[in-house]
């Protein structure tokens, strides 16, 4: 998972080494990130850091939400009438949009209950 440098927290583990413009390694794969690493990476203009592990909590869908995903995909499909979803990247895009729509629905429900 790639994380914007501003969201990197000390203790996260680097999944891919980062080099500067002339090829010096700034942080190696497997390094546990410290505040000092974060400062150095920012000074070098690094914007994203590959971190071990999957999507952060809150991004994942509950089993009920997963079940709703199919209908959401179908609702979004007309937008892809010309693009199609045959290309694997567009399949990923449609899936990401459906998950995004389901999460937005969850936030709306949360706001309605509050």
């Amino acid at each position: 998972m790639r994380v914007p440098i501003g969201d990197v927290q000390p203790g996260m583990v680097v999944a891919e080494e980062i080099k500067d413009a002339i090829g010096r390694v700034l942080v190696g794969k497997g390094t546990e990130v410290t505040d000092r690493h974060i400062r150095i990476l920012q000074m070098c203009g690094i914007e994203l850091l590959a971190i071990e592990g999957g999507a952060p909590d809150g991004e994942a869908l509950s089993p009920e939400e997963e079940a709703r995903l199919g209908a959401t995909v179908e609702a979004l499909r007309p937008r892809f009438a010309l693009a199609g979803t045959g290309h694997p990247a567009l399949g990923v895009l449609l899936d990401a949009l459906a998950r995004r729509a389901v999460r937005a629905g969850r936030r709306r429900e949360g706001a309605a209950h509050a």
Partner: protein, 294 residues
């Protein structure tokens, strides 16, 4: 129907780049200019300085500490990058005073910003040297449509109707009616403004990146950015459908399909911040300029 060049000539009489951008270009082209000198020019325009500081302190960069001075911002971000961001902010101002009647300007810029963030993220992820340049290209990708809405509102209305009626892409309908599309007009405008060829090509070829020659990558990033922005339906410049993914563009970017999910997340993360900083809610009114000066 007038030619694209004629429409652009009529438009540049109304919309020109502010002198601050031209002065900034001069000082950044000076090989020995320092961050402090660039910062001094930016500070002459208090509103530009305020925007730049807002942007470097937003999710766009995500620095963990606060950046308080323009000099700090210039040295952290780089002079060429600051010039590109100044250009982005200048162009939104150039059109602020002349909103076309039939166009939702807010939706137009929201779409443009979404495309710009996505295109820039492609450049960041692929470690291309100038992400901010790609950002500007994304922000300007549909600028030709502003010219069309301004100069030929009737032709645009017909194009919008036809695209909706036949379920076709708007740029195809434009081409059918005008003989050229908004990408051609945008390229013409950027050329009239004497902006760098990479921007002209990335904007002018975003529907046909394989024609962008040595600027294929930049055009491809804008192409993908436009596709994602349309798919996410964050604002609109008139297009209602997701355009097909261009094969050569996808190959030029060279990422795995899973990257598209990351792109959607990244646009969502930055969009509100960048919209707020870059444009839209202040149309650069005299009132704001006066308020800034106090």
């Amino acid at each position: 129907m007038r030619s694209a060049a004629e429409m652009v000539r009529a438009t540049t009489k109304l919309a020109s780049l502010p002198s601050i951008y031209l002065r900034l270009t001069e000082v950044t082209n000076e090989p020995r200019s320092t961050a402090a000198e660039v910062a001094r020019v930016i500070s002459e325009d208090t509103a530009l300085a305020a925007r730049l500081l807002k942007l470097v302190n937003s999710s766009f960069y995500g620095f963990s500490h606060r950046i308080d001075t323009v000099t700090q911002a210039v040295s952290l971000v780089g002079t060429q990058q600051v010039l590109d961001l100044a250009l982005a902010s200048s162009v939104t101002r150039a059109f602020a005073g002349i909103p076309p009647e039939r166009l939702d300007m807010d939706g137009f810029w929201r779409h443009s910003v979404a495309c710009a963030i996505a295109a820039r993220h492609v450049a960041v992820r692929c470690r291309w040297p100038s992400p901010e340049r790609v950002f500007v290209a994304g922000l300007l990708h549909d600028i030709g449509r502003l010219v069309l809405y301004l100069q030929e509102p009737q032709a645009m209305a017909t194009a919008l109707e036809r695209a909706a009626r036949d379920g076709r892409l708007l740029h195809v309908a434009e081409r059918e009616i005008c003989g050229f599309d908004h990408a051609d007009v945008g390229r013409e405008l950027l050329s009239a403004w004497k902006l760098p060829p990479v921007l002209q090509e990335a904007v002018g070829r975003h529907h046909r990146p394989e024609r962008a020659g040595s600027h294929l990558k930049e055009a491809a990033a804008v192409h993908l950015g436009d596709l994602v922005a349309n798919a996410m339906a964050l604002g609109s410049s008139g297009e209602q459908l997701v355009p097909p993914l261009d094969g050569p563009a996808w190959a030029a970017i060279g990422v795995e399909p899973a990257f598209l999910a990351e792109l959607v997340a990244e646009v969502d993360r930055q969009h509100a911040d960048v919209v707020q900083v870059m444009l839209v809610y202040d149309y650069w009114s005299a009132g704001e300029a006066a308020a800034q000066a106090v």
